[in-house]
Amino acid sequence: MNAPTGAEPSPDTLAALFEILKSFNKAGIALTPGTRFSEDLNFDSLIVMEFVAEVEDAFDISVPLNILPDVATIRELALAVEKIVAEDK
């Protein structure tokens, strides 16, 4: 699932994720593509699940649970989302 090194998601995907993250980022941590969900944002398993459900709604996709262990940062999630969107076409 890991993207080839150097691959960057589109700014639109990142912007959409930042928007969804607003309501989950209670501590108001500055968000960058490299922000990590568990270490930086302190997401526990329950929050991850709620957050993923909102991402699924926003992009109209299903995100398999299988890929979650490989997604640590916002950038990695954006790339995974783009991959799923492309496959669903």
Partner: protein
């Protein structure tokens, strides 16, 4: 170098913040003497048990006790082996035949627990090209089971057939088989799956199977206790039923039943079946006898639901918020974990045992005082339980002041 379990530090500090003082701790509840299905001595006090999942109260059924004693004397304390080695006795076979007859299905597999049944079946059933679509509120054993599967795992919104439909629709062009996984009654909040709607969605697509975990609905729903599929009239549309003997059947063990013609190969492929010791003969004998009592347990089911509705009404009247209606699980939603712990302690100190369930183990981050009813609860016991809830709720400050006053007077 981090200490071995440092990654649990947030949970440890949460635990210490909630339970760090000298008060009673829910993880240390010890029954010093079991008085009946509904009462035990805990901390030197006679305690009414309202959190045992012993829905029909069969743990002391005389017929089952007798059969268990006989099996114990005839076959010994354990099988010391796996079902596929030396661990299949005549009793295990008889129990599987009884399950087939009970559910009117062709095949049945008995596991050592319900947890292992889910773990084994869900990790084995679907392959790398396949998809599992699970309800988001499914039990930990289902989550752990699908984690061991090579299929793609997709969650749909709890009890939302439209969301399931949307997700199946996205997969409509994919060649793999799909498995929908739900529960009949969800353990924490006690709410039922909308089975007829889910079956209707299932039928819109090709190659879709349905598995229901009837852990909390076996013995509880349906005229003959076959669970939600019986009650909803769609038994033929549920391809796999998983269940446990640890709740209404009153002992321990798990099972899966199905009409799938190739089902039997699972006996060789399911690691949680092959690589663990089988149930002791005494347990198998109690399960077999109690299954018969479950089937003919119409009167017990009536009493269970009468008790559940009485507790629900009593607690609602106090001003408490209950998660589900008309359910053998009466889950009181507390405002936050600190209040929930205070409430739980107040109850146990006054002689009422319920389950304390806190996030992240609960849906929606709820803090719950989860009661489960038993057919054997008496009206007097439930009156006492309701009175104690009222007292403690007022003391903890969980109900509105007006109600507090009324409770204090009453």
């Amino acid at each position: 170098m981090a200490a071995l379990l440092d990654r649990f530090a947030p949970i440890m500090s949460q635990r210490d913040a909630l339970f760090g003082d000298d008060g009673v701790n829910p993880f240390q509840v010890k029954m010093d003497q079991v008085l009946s299905q509904t009462e035990a001595m805990i901390g030197g006090r006679r305690t009414i048990l309202v959190g045992t999942n012993n829905y029909l109260g069969l743990t002391f059924a005389p017929e089952a006790l007798k059969a268990a004693h006989e099996a114990l004397d005839a076959c010994g304390t354990g099988t010391t082996g796996s079902r596929v080695a030396n661990g299949t006795y005549y009793g295990h076979k008889e129990l599987e035949d009884s399950l087939c007859e009970f559910f009117n299905k062709e095949h049945a597999m008995v596991f050592s627990t319900g947890f292992l049944a889910n773990l084994g079946i869900l990790s084995t059933l679907m392959g790398p090209e396949d998809y599992i679509l699970m309800d988001a509120d499914c039990h930990a054993s289902i989550y752990d089971g699908v984690r061991g599967s090579s299929a793609q795992i997709i969650r749909f919104r709890h009890n939302d057939a439209a969301d399931l439909d949307k997700r199946l629709n996205r997969l409509a062009d994919k060649p793999g088989n799909k498995l929908i996984v739900i529960e009949g009654i969800y353990s924490m909040l006690g709410d039922k799956a909308p089975l007829a709607e889910i079956v209707a969605v299932k039928k819109k697509y090709e190659n879709v199977y349905l598995l229901s975990d009837e852990a909390h609905s076996l013995g509880v729903l349906g005229k003959y206790g076959r669970g939600l599929p019986e009650e909803a009239g769609c038994e033929d549309d549920v391809d796999f039923i998983v269940g446990t003997f640890s709740k209404s059947v009153g002992t321990v063990g798990g099972f899966c039943v199905s009409n799938h013609p190739q089902f039997d190969i699972l006996r060789l492929m399911t690691r949680a079946y092959v690589f663990t010791a089988s149930l002791p003969p005494s347990v198998v004998a109690s399960a077999t006898v109690n299954l018969g009592l479950v089937k003919n347990g119409g009167a017990l089911r009536k009493r269970l639901m009468r008790n559940a509705n009485k507790l629900h009404a009593g607690l609602t009247a106090i001003g408490l918020k209950i998660a589900s209606e008309n359910s053998p699980v009466v889950a009181v939603v507390a405002p936050d974990p600190v209040m929930a712990v205070a409430f739980w302690r107040g109850l146990i100190e006054a002689g009422v045992y319920v389950n304390l369930a806190l996030p992240p183990a609960t849906p929606y981050g709820y803090s719950l005082l989860r009661a489960s009813l038993c057919a054997a609860h008496t009206e007097e016991q439930l009156d006492e339980v309701i009175a104690i809830f009222a007292e403690v709720a007022a003391k903890v400050g969980i109900v509105a002041p007006a109600e507090k006053k009324r409770v204090a007077v009453g």
